[in-house]
């Protein structure tokens, strides 16, 4: 059967050595969502791909879909290299968390233009962020905001305005991934503790655009609570933990 060649915008999520001089790339494409593709000869110094296909790169690809599972990259144009994110250890750490979240939350070959737009917007903002004092990459407001929005796009938006079990409006003290939201003191069994600042912080992150995340004044406790909500949602709904968060 003859293959099909098509063009798509894509973000490189992961790059693995393959064979003598090739790489297998995990890509999130605008046209087809998550795909795997081979970049032949890319590890050779005279490769025509050069440095365009590194993780975090936003590119326009020409892809060939043959009979196998992996597609083949036949052409690439750089839209944005996100070099300043790649060359700063803190930004790179934040970027890796986002890339792994995309890899794990959207494993299927299925277009999701809003997820793609969120990812490219995140990368644009990543180039500009500053390291917060005593802050780990996993609790940076930008990546917390991005992951909460991904949970929303994946259909796992946490319900935070009232108790997800009994509907009580006040006295919310925990988060239950099973119930899908915040819970009150009476319904707190199997939940993780959630402070008032954490609850307000998560609501703020969900309500505001990613560009405003750093300006929300998230406290250290609120950042940790947001991370707990995200991590427990991943574990409950997707059955995974992010390696980049345990590093």
């Amino acid at each position: 059967m003859a293959g099909r060649t098509y063009k798509s915008e894509a973000v490189v999520l992961r790059s693995l050595r393959f064979g003598e001089a090739d790489r297998v790339l995990h890509l999130y494409t605008l046209e087809r969502g998550r795909i795997g593709a081979v970049a032949k000869g890319i590890r050779r110094t005279k490769s025509r791909f050069g440095g365009r296909l590194e993780p975090l790169s936003h590119v326009e690809l020409v892809l060939h879909q043959g009979g196998g599972e992996l597609q083949t990259i036949t052409g690439v144009e750089l839209i944005h290299p996100h070099r300043s994110a790649r060359e700063d250890n803190y930004r790179l750490g934040v970027g890796f968390v986002a890339l792994e979240a995309m890899l794990r939350l959207f494993p299927e070959q299925e277009a999701n233009p809003r997820a793609f737009e969120a990812l490219t917007r995140f990368l644009d903002l990543l180039d500009e962020i500053e390291r917060r004092p005593d802050s780990r990459a996993g609790v940076d407001p930008l990546v917390l905001s991005f992951q909460l929005k991904l949970l929303w796009l994946a259909g796992y938006l946490p319900h935070l305005t009232s108790c997800a079990e009994c509907g009580a409006q006040k006295g919310l003290v925990g988060y239950s991934p099973r119930a899908g939201g915040a819970v009150c003191a009476h319904c707190r069994a199997d939940s993780i503790a959630l402070s008032a600042s954490g609850l307000a912080g998560i609501e703020g992150l969900l309500r505001s655009p990613m560009a405003d995340a750093a300006g929300l004044g998230l406290t250290a406790r609120a950042g940790r609570d947001a991370l707990s909500v995200i991590a427990s949602s991943y574990e409950y709904h997707g059955g995974f933990r992010l390696k980049t968060l345990s590093a």
Binding site: K46, R52, L78, G93, A247
Partner: protein, 196 residues
């Protein structure tokens, strides 16, 4: 269709990097056609290499002794240490005949997505060597890709203020044409330009 012995040989050959089933069949048939002593010499060489070759206790390069030839060589500059990801990188740098210092092989690069953390590499040995062996300069020669840059940046952060840290230059391949250079490489060549 093939005998179990040939099937086994093919299966073992396909485990080599870059060798698919068809190439493995071709190699297996070639080995079967060659004289017995030649084929067995290959097997003996494999066994000998696996039994005798190990990592140098100082730098992590391949060696048959406790300490490799480069680390034992009194003519090498012991104040400069070049950090690479794999033993094969030592060979590439040695071929240049430009570098006369010592090496440190990390055994890979940091990759949070793959769960490769500093403790999975020979990082502690590197920092110990720098502190105790009178090293004046550390040359970071990890690969110019995302994981290699992350590794170089991590080491540079840890060694800042303790020793001079340099990074291999990035730029255009000698003999190439500018019009064929990709934006990333050309951009780095521009920002790393030097006065002549």
């Amino acid at each position: 269709m093939l005998s179990p012995a040939i099937e086994n040989l093919v299966a073992q050959l396909t485990r080599l990097p870059g060798v698919g089933t068809r190439t493995a069949h071709r190699l297996a048939f070639h080995l079967l056609r060659t004289p017995t002593d030649e084929a067995l010499a290959l097997a003996a060489a494999l066994r000998e290499a696996k039994e005798r070759v190990r990592f140098c206790a100082d730098c992590g390069n391949w060696t048959e002794e406790e300490i490799c030839e480069i680390c034992r060589d009194a003519r090498r500059d012991r104040s400069v240490l070049c950090v690479v990801e794999q033993p094969a990188d030592v060979m590439s740098l040695e071929r240049t005949h430009e570098y006369r210092g010592l090496y440190h092989v990390l055994g890979g690069a940091l990759s949070p997505l793959d769960g490769v953390d500093p403790e999975d590499l020979r990082m502690d040995d590197l920092f110990r060597r720098v502190d105790s062996n009178g090293i004046g300069e550390v040359v970071l020669a990890t690969n110019p890709n995302t994981t290699g840059e992350a590794t170089a940046s991590f080491i540079a952060d840890r060694l800042r203020g303790r020793v001079r840290v340099t990074r291999l230059a990035s730029g255009l391949p000698v003999g190439g044409d500018l019009e064929y250079a990709d934006e990333v490489t050309l951009g780095r060549a521009l920002s790393g330009r030097r006065e002549v």
